[in-house]
């Protein structure tokens, strides 16, 4: 309690509050811009923290982290372009809600669930930081493999009427993730002699191509067919009522728990959390068929999960000094440049930093709600532009965002090529989400399976079932495949219109 008072004292100073507010605003802006994620926005602010008090610097970076994770959902809903990789899942139902004229509702749900999840994960962080760190440490390669396999089971339900198409799309994604230098042998794979392909494909250009560019092509095609442009909606942002928010509350809480736990696992991240959460929300829903067609729970679950990761990710950073993601690695860097060593001793040597961070995460999530409300109002105006201007502007924005990832024009080409691939996939009823899911989880799955094999000297069974935790995860994954496939055969879901 005394420690929390120290945190409150450190946070409720005018300069600290200002820094958190600015951080959230900066994060939201970064999240909204495709190609700039939370960690990039944090990295851009890192040099400015040099002259700051380390506690305030950490609070500002925490604000950027919260704002960045949320901001990605705004373009995902409004233009079908995820601003961050973690918002990819939000496109599926958020964009569909927007097309149906439920823009305000989708944006409200994303903001509300993000805020609730952020606050939830902060409470969890305060209460169980140390015990949760022990759970994170129990995750070895076999457990990570099981977790990624569990996430991949979503592919089975994304094939719609034809499950094989979902699997084909997923296999393409997993294969795409293997392009580039092999992480173990160091040899180039499927690079066809290209120096750029040797480095592998970046996630953001792949996702922006599959989701945004392909959607632009669809819009162009529909304009010829004389269909109305989806974004010509003259709706003003109004926060949907409490009743609407309560309807999605179970999904928000499910996402919050999943996000907090996955966020605490080093190297997994918000993208995996949002996909796993979406999968679970769909699995437990009574109305599975409406997922992918504009179900509010399909927005609440992934948004809650990726925002809950912010609190979860602080667990290994503060308690063990292990950065679990790029964003927390930047925070670690901010501490190191001030000659402060994170880890268990931080709580005794500099209590104002970890406890100040706990309180500031709370404040940041509240700021995020109000700044998010303002940002959605501003961003909604963009969608009232005429169709040709919007198509040209999004194309320019997406290509610039693609370039910004690695400052390499090859990524612009990747964005374009995956846009064409995504368009063809849409035409043939293949879900691009399966490809993205395969791409995100394929790498984690391969690396951890091979690592586990190395540890267990090639013994496959022992590699997979080396601990009760990995066994449980694999059993759930297998049961999930069987159950989803059975449900799909019994009552196939028509998602062709949605993908």
């Amino acid at each position: 309690m005394e420690a929390l008072l120290i945190g409150l004292q450190a946070t409720f100073q005018p300069f600290a509050i200002l820094a958190i507010g600015f951080g959230v605003l900066w994060g939201v802006i970064g999240g909204v811009i495709p190609g700039i994620n939370a960690s990039t926005a944090m990295a851009l602010l890192l040099p400015f923290t040099w002259g700051m008090d380390p506690g305030i610097a950490m609070m500002m970076l925490a604000g950027v982290y919260c704002g960045g994770e949320y901001g990605g959902s705004i373009p995902a809903i409004l233009i079908g372009t995820p601003g961050t990789t973690a918002a990819a899942c939000t496109v599926m139902d958020g964009y569909e809600m927007h097309k149906k004229g439920k823009t305000s509702e989708a944006l409200s749900i994303s903001l509300w669930s993000g805020t609730v999840a952020g606050l939830f994960s902060t409470v969890v962080l305060i209460v169980v930081a140390i015990p949760l760190a022990k759970v994170a440490l129990a995750f070895g390669p076999a457990e990570y493999f099981g977790l990624s396999l569990l996430g991949l089971t979503l592919i089975c339900s994304l094939g719609g009427l034809n499950i094989f198409k979902g699997l084909i799309a997923g296999a393409i994604g997993v294969f795409a993730a293997t392009i580039g230098f092999d992480p173990f042998a160091g040899v180039p794979r499927y690079s066809f002699g290209s120096y750029n392909l040797g480095g592998g494909l970046s996630m953001i250009p792949v996702m922006m191509g599959l989701f945004a560019v392909s959607e632009l092509f669809v819009q162009v095609e529909e304009s010829v067919a004389g269909e109305n442009f989806l974004t010509n909606i003259k709706e003003k942002m109004k926060f949907s009522g409490v009743k609407k928010m309560m309807e999605t509350f179970p999904s928000t809480m499910l996402g919050s728990v999943i996000g907090t736990v996955i966020g605490a696992l080093p190297g997994v991240g918000a993208t995996t959390a949002s996909f796993v959460s979406y999968n679970e929300a769909k699995r437990w829903s009574k109305d599975k068929d409406s997922f992918g067609k504009g179900n509010p729970n399909g927005v609440a679950a992934p948004e809650a999960a990726n925002n809950a990761c912010t609190g979860g990710a602080m667990v290994p950073l503060l308690s063990l000094g292990i950065p679990g993601s790029n964003s927390t690695a930047i925070m670690l860097g901010a501490l190191v440049i001030h000659n402060i060593q994170p880890g268990p001793l931080l709580f005794t040597q500099h209590p104002e930093i970890p406890y100040g961070l706990f309180v500031s995460l709370f404040v940041a999530n509240i700021f995020m709600f109000f700044i998010g409300l303002w940002a959605t109002k501003v961003c909604m105006k963009v969608t009232t532009l005429s169709k040709p201007i919007l198509v040209a502007s999004i194309m320019a924005l997406v290509f610039t965002g693609g370039f910004a990832i690695n400052m390499n024009s090859f990524d612009v080409l990747v964005t374009f090529v995956f846009g064409v691939i995504g368009y063809v996939m849409k035409k043939y009823g293949l879900a691009q989400t399966s490809t993205v899911l395969g791409f995100v989880l394929g790498f984690i799955m391969e690396v951890n399976f091979r690592r586990s094999l190395i540890i267990n000297q090639g013994d496959v069974m022992h590699s997979l079932f080396s601990s009760p935790l990995s066994t449980v995860l694999l059993v759930i994954a297998a049961a999930s495949v069987v159950l989803t496939t059975w449900q799909n055969f019994k009552k196939p879901v028509d998602i062709e219109s949605a993908c």
């Binding site: 290509f399 846009g419 091979r450």
Partner: protein
Amino acid sequence: MFSYKDFAVGIASILLGVLIVFESRGLVAKTSLDPAGPAALPLMMAWSLIVLGAIEVVGGLYARGKTKADRPPSAGFKAVLGKWYERYRLVLIVMIIGAAFCALFDLLGYLIAVPLMFAAILWFMERRDLKSIIGINLAVTAFLFVVFKYALSVNLPLGPFSGLF
């Protein structure tokens, strides 16, 4: 479950699978240090693509046969091509504009390539008011340039304008 389009999906899937198998030949084999080897997962995916592709081909052929009686008689290759061209003409043009942008991005630089792409899209999408093309184009390009170049420190290629900004 299957539609006649699945035949094409199956063929494409098989071709991709075969390409992966073919390209995996040169990869180093598994070793005692790395029991799976670099080709394990890609090959697993390749064979999955081949098997799933074969299922799609068979399913697609089955669906074709089943819906043959319901399908209207073909209007002839020329008429189908004409209809196809009419529907996809603008998409193809936008794709060509996108491809040209990718090819010329480094050479022309951001400040020339983006306005050119922007103007071309507006022009072909029947927005031909020159005043608005120039005005909106300049506003969007300038906004994106300032945000990415100065606020986000992205080193955008400048082509002939290198050294000016």
